[in-house]
């Protein structure tokens, strides 16, 4: 089935988030908080695009995307914290002083420079994804085993980050930042700026993913999902393709995490616990896997719903999410986008009948 790409969706999407929302804020109708909240959702959507590439298109259920997301966040957080510490004249971040550490741990050193921070925020997740992927894909681990092992990896990292000895703030995480490149993070215009940057990055990520999935490379990914063994008899090196897309997905998660941090002001290991990793996959499942628009819409919608639900009925969010998930799995496995497409088709059968048989 070839669905024509309707530019209307893109125009609508950009009109709402790049014009309407900022305009609403400028005119005082929308609070800067709302802007910031949506800015954070964009970061989730960027990570969701990565999940769609690795899971929706390639069929590899990776449960460690939340970990890559956190790596990006932690990297930026370390930089911001060091900047703040320097500004206040202290030698070490507070939590280190409390832990009776005297010199800055070696792995914190490069985060004093913003350039190094950016580089490491991308390099570290990419390298970990490469190493983990190399081992897992080489040993032909797939399906549910892949999900279990990546989940275990996330769990191990979560436990590691929880420990005070890791020197990353333990359970409390890293928080209390003041400035980014000299800009005051609490100022409204900086928040709007971060919102716009996140939105731009989301659009860029979408465009990049679109190019990937519509290239022959993307078709190989789908072929791997459909029949991994068959594609290797056609001389495609499955491991190379899986590794490449796993690294790309990790990078997208990391970019999301990097942009997320200055907008939320805190990162704790809670962002990568089991619940968080499962939730990220659910965004894509609910939005529609194997569909880039679905991933974006899923991430935005679920998080929006989350914020609505937690204020209305605080305790029932997980039940609602679980219920939605079950419904999706049972009745419309292509998620929200699949549902929308089938409704659209039902309405247009008859009028489009002639164009449905390509010659």
């Amino acid at each position: 089935m070839k669905t024509k790409n309707n530019p209307l969706y893109y125009i609508l999407f950009i009109a709402i988030f790049a014009i309407l929302l900022p305009a609403g804020y400028m005119s005082g109708l929308i609070s800067v908080n709302t802007i910031s909240v949506w800015g954070r959702y964009f970061c989730f959507a960027i990570a969701a695009l990565g999940i769609d590439l690795i899971w929706g298109y390639t069929g590899i259920l990776s449960m460690c995307q939340a970990f890559f997301f956190c790596l990006g966040s932690y990297g930026i957080a370390m930089h911001l914290l060091l900047k703040k510490t320097m500004a206040t004249g202290a030698v070490l971040p507070d939590f280190m002083a409390w832990n009776k550490i005297e010199t800055l741990p070696l792995f914190w050193q490069p985060f004093q420079s913003f350039g190094w921070t950016l580089l490491l925020c991308l390099l570290v997740p990419a390298l970990i994804a490469f190493a983990a992927g190399f081992v897992l894909f080489r040993s032909r681990i797939k399906g549910v085993y892949m999900a279990i092992i990546t989940q275990a990896l996330t769990l191990a990292m979560w436990l590691l980050f929880l420990r005070n000895e890791t020197n990353l703030g333990g359970t409390n995480g890293l928080t209390d930042f003041k400035t980014l490149l000299g800009y005051d993070l609490s100022s409204s215009s900086v928040k709007l700026g971060l919102y716009m940057i996140s939105f731009t990055m989301l659009c860029a990520a979408y465009f990049g993913c679109y190019r990937i999935t519509h290239s022959k490379f993307g078709k190989v990914l789908q072929a791997i999902r459909d029949s991994e063994s068959r594609i290797s008899y056609a001389a495609y090196k499955v491991v190379d393709y899986k590794l490449a897309i796993f690294v790309v997905a990790a990078l997208l998660a990391a970019v999301g995490g990097m942009l997320y941090l200055p907008q939320t002001g805190i990162i704790t290991p809670g962002r990568m616990d089991v619940k968080a990793s499962v939730e990220m996959v659910m965004w894509v499942a609910l939005g529609g896997r194997g569909n880039l628009k679905g991933a974006v819409i899923g991430a935005l919608l679920v998080n929006f719903l989350y914020s609505v639900c937690t204020s209305l009925f605080p305790d029932s969010w997980l039940f609602i999410l679980g219920f939605l998930f079950v419904i999706t799995v049972l009745y419309f496995d292509k998620g929200f986008m699949g549902l929308a497409n089938s409704i659209k088709q039902r309405f247009s059968t008859g009028s489009f009948k002639t164009s449905q048989t390509p010659l």
Partner: protein, 251 residues
Amino acid sequence: MLLNVNNLSVSFGGVHALNLDHFSLRDKELRVIIGPNGAGKSTFLDIICGKTKADKGEILFNGKAVTGKTEVAIAEMGIGRKFQKPSVFPGLTVHDNLLLAAKMKKDIFSSLFFKPTAALADRIHAVATKLSLTTVMYKMAGDLSHGQKQWLEIAIVVLQDPTLMLIDEPAAGMSDEETEKTGALLLELSKAHSIIVIEHDMKFVEQIARELVTVLVRGKRLMEGTFAEVKNDQRVIDCYLGRTNAQLETL
């Protein structure tokens, strides 16, 4: 000889699935392998294309060892496989199935920056025409009929342009007319490729077996000869009798 196989054996859980003393194939030869169910025919092709690892034995293709190589390396050597159970990519269109199969560089960067060329489009179109797939080019491969899937998988192998084609039960699930067409196609392909075909349908075997037919029984090579020789061999008749394939009798 293009393909030389010696003392090839494999067993699954103690059961000898294949125990082949010798097998060889000339360049541009079309060889048919027949044998009752479970004779090890598919297993033989599985070993050649790297799907199953042999316990022992050697396979030389163009003088180079095949055993121990990966599926990709074997495909790159010029061996293409059509499986018994049609295996195509159900979530891709017929056209994309063919595009992925077509012979070209297949590393990640070549795929990422791949630009379709007119020559390639022509080639895909030509193969699709030969296998009556032009009318379903933009249909999902998963929605095709069983016979069409068989043809699509043959088309995939043809587009890979291998030196040696391993074709497992191409006519299964096809009408008489389609079977005949498939036979004609295989004969035509054998002018430019070496082909091993596994088949149960004796009428089909008679159509395509211009040279040797190999009979496998319980993993062993029972005999090798022309179709007429095989058909009239008492041992062959004996092992087909009492089985589902009483077809030899009727011929």
